[in-house]
């Protein structure tokens, strides 16, 4: 089936540094999402993105977070600066259309902030 690729699979950085998580969504999809999963907890919605804009974001999407997809390349999540509580697995997803349609998820990027 359609694949969403996330790069890297694991990233270790020092607190205060900037990190960029990369996502290669399904090629003809138009809607993109990031979810965050802290160890032992449920996956939580961070943000969705369409046509170059953030459509909706949760309270977890702090001011230090930003997303973009320049010129149809990777859909990225940037955290600057990082904090210890940002340690989690971040899942990217994409869908062809919004509103209760199938989301295709990547395998996640495990971010460890030291």
């Amino acid at each position: 089936g359609p694949k969403v690729l996330q790069i890297p699979s694991h990233q270790i950085i020092d607190m205060g540094q900037m990190v960029t998580l990369n996502c290669d969504p399904v090629s003809n999809h138009l809607y993109f999402y990031w979810y965050k999963q802290i160890l032992g907890q449920q996956m939580e919605f961070l943000v969705n993105f369409y046509n170059g804009k953030v459509m909706e974001k949760s309270k977890l999407f702090k001011d230090q977070f930003s997303v973009e997809r320049p010129d149809g390349s990777y859909f990225t999540l940037k955290i600057q600066p990082t904090a210890l509580e940002d340690s989690a697995v971040y899942f990217c997803a994409s869908s062809l259309v919004p509103s209760q349609n199938t989301l295709y998820f990547g395998a996640g990027t495990r971010l460890s902030v030291l």
Binding site: G1, E56, F91, S99
Partner: protein
């Protein structure tokens, strides 16, 4: 406050048995309930879904039973196979639609 609750957290069944996974929710505006299946090292993948206008949805060995009044649903895996060993997430959304609220997942192990 968890909007979507799942139980049990883990479940072990023998091959051929029926595994029953439970899910409940708080928000009465939720009307779409997908179940995602996740194998180790992979992302969650849509397994089966139901909308609140239905009380049952079947797809092969997987069946969702939905009780709108009690805000509960369950996923039944009949004739469980070792290949069904995975984590299963119950999720929910409303008609605004773009945001899924996930449960914590149920880890299922099917012993041969």
């Amino acid at each position: 406050q968890q909007q979507v609750r799942q139980s049990p957290q883990s479940l072990t069944v023998w091959e051929g048995e029926t595994a029953i996974l439970n899910c409940s929710y708080e928000d009465s505006t939720f009307n779409y309930f997908p179940w995602y299946q996740q194998f180790p090292g992979e992302g969650p993948a849509l397994l089966i879904s139901i909308r609140s206008v239905s009380d049952k949805k079947e797809d092969g060995r997987f069946t969702i039973f939905f009780n709108k009044r009690e805000k509960k649903l369950s996923l039944h895996i009949t004739d469980s196979q070792p290949g069904d060993s995975a984590t299963y997430f119950c999720a929910a959304s409303n008609s605004a639609g773009n945001k899924l609220t996930f449960g914590i997942g149920t880890r299922v192990l099917v012993r041969p």
